[in-house]
Amino acid sequence: MSREGQAPGRSQAGPHPLGGSTDVRVGRGASMILPRDRGNPLLRYIALGVVAVVMLYPLLWLIGASFKGNAEIFTEIGVWPSRFDFTAYAKGWKTSTEYTFATYFLNSFLITVPRIIVTVISCVLVAYAFARFEFWGKKFLFSIMVGTMMLPLIILRLPQYLMFKELGWLDTYVPLILPSAFATDTFFVFMLVQFLRGIPRDMEEAAQIDGCNALQLLWHIIVPLLKPAIISVIVFQFIWTMNDFMGPLIYLSTVEKYPVSLALKMSIGATEEVEWASVIAISVVALIPSVGVFFLAQRHFIEGATSSGVKG
């Protein structure tokens, strides 16, 4: 492989296109080189502790509140309930509709799982092209990709709705999944490209000499090396799709097909007098998959977010 072939990719890996130096530690196991603590450690811990309590107390309090029953919720400031009452969970799970939250969770997974699969496949392919290949219009396409990350998605909602309406796909999961099969979640492409640029090409060169073709290279060399970044993609896409509200709100109209996010909205909008205990209980349940995935994969995934330097 010629030096010229490598040069553009390498030189772009230096300064971030948007000016950050965030891609410096893209490689695996980014080491933490931190300064020694020269300040007062006690002061630091107190400051961090206070912020952590203020930030997490609402979440903890709500978990506690979900066991408290309607009366105690509005008077008790502590986390621990005086007695554990599961009726709110039972009631919330059953919902006021003819379906239980089992249906809504299943629906959420029916959207999320296929979407993750097509996202990973399309984004890895495209990132591989951007990070390794030379082709006509590469620079232009790459800047379009970075540009679309800054494009307010809300402007596209209405025309996309009309497109899917024209195609007869309203009230199906297709509009929620199909765009991701075309690497439209450019944040992930960007993240994978940044990660790939940090990986030396020696192994690929060796495999090429051994007669691997591009797809074999991708499958046997690139994908295993990309594993931490792919895990980040899976985790992010899982949480964001579970969180997605506006998409289902626009495209789905049959209650039977609602994901968790829409069902939650219904539970609060159905009656004037909100039955807070069960709404809170079910909100807590709704957060469990995301929190679980977060804690399972947090190491990979905070690093993935850091190395790409995008998204909030």
């Binding site: 690497a183 809170i280 909100s283 709704a286 957060l287 909030g312």
Partner: protein, 295 residues
């Protein structure tokens, strides 16, 4: 093989199709729609600049909504970015429990976009919710967070600020690239902690500050879930952000042409604010690669 242009293009093809079909085409289409009157049932009718004329000339709700959106962004973006920078700075030391704190601060930023959190937030800020319970402990009268137009904005701004974690991890990565020797030298020269922060840390990571401001601004101008679920745009439209107005016009009242015009105004606003930031960046953003040029 990597010089094989056709092969490279083959791999990038899904993205090209995706951009054309799901980004560029809708983008152009929404621009075209903004010059029409369209209610889905009847075919769109070209009306020229009428939508824009009405927007800027005869729509007080638009003006209100525009002001609310600007106010939200002006409060929420500096608070989120500022907080993220401050916490990253405090966290950027060798210490026990750093991973715990990092995760604790990061968690809200990934949950914050969910409807469940919006529901919980609405409850926390309700008349008898947690916030008022805590205030009562300090002898402060309960505040009608959701019903008083002077306070409603703060509930969604606080929700936005609460999710500072993603900006924080980006700052943390940047802070690790600031050479320790600079602090040590400053220490010897007798610089205080505050001076070290403002004279060393901040100038060296301005590119990342700039990057975070731009990205968070794009998010803030599109904020939807919070105002939709927590305050429902009210009271008295005090949290009726443009995203909500666009949604109502497009998907509730089916004034698609008007909705498209509104979303183009939002787009222009984001572009304008980004443009201003880019323009101003040459005065305050310092790229270490440019050291020799001494601008």
């Amino acid at each position: 093989m990597y010089e094989n242009k056709r092969l490279g293009f083959l791999f990038v093809l899904p993205f090209v199709l995706g951009v054309l079909g799901f980004k560029l085409f809708p983008f152009v289409m929404s621009f075209a729609l903004s010059f029409t009157q369209y209610d889905v049932i009847n075919p769109p009718e070209f009306i020229g600049m009428e939508n824009y004329k009405e927007l800027f000339g005869a729509d007080p709700l638009f003006r209100k909504s525009l002001g609310v959106t600007m106010l939200f962004a002006l409060l929420a973006v500096p608070m989120r970015v500022g907080f993220a920078l401050f916490i990253a700075h405090v966290l950027n030391f060798k210490m026990r429990g750093i991973n715990f704190f990092r995760s604790a601060f990061y968690l809200p930023s990934i949950l914050g976009g969910s409807i469940a959190v919006a529901v919980l937030w609405r409850f926390i800020f309700s008349q008898k919710g947690l916030v008022n319970l805590v205030l009562a402990k300090f002898g402060i009268e309960p505040i009608s967070w959701l019903a008083d137009e002077h306070f409603s904005m703060w509930t969604i701004v606080l929700l936005f600020t609460w999710q500072f974690g993603s900006a924080m991890v980006i700052f943390l990565a940047a802070l690790q690239n600031v050479p320790i020797s600079l602090y040590e030298a400053a220490e010897i020269d007798g610089a205080s902690k505050r001076q070290q922060f403002f004279r060393i840390t901040v100038p060296l990571i301005t590119p990342v500050i700039f990057f975070n401001i731009i990205m968070q601004m794009v998010h803030a101008f599109q904020e939807f879930n919070g105002p939709y679920m927590i305050t429902e745009g009210g009271p008295l439209q005090s949290t009726y952000v443009l995203a909500l107005y666009i949604y109502d016009q497009s998907f509730r009242f089916f004034n698609l042409g008007y909705g498209a015009a509104l979303s183009w105004v939002l787009f222009a606003l984001v572009a304008l604010m980004s443009g201003i930031s880019f323009w101003s960046s040459k005065y305050w953003v310092f790229y270490s690669g440019e050291k020799e040029q001494k601008r």
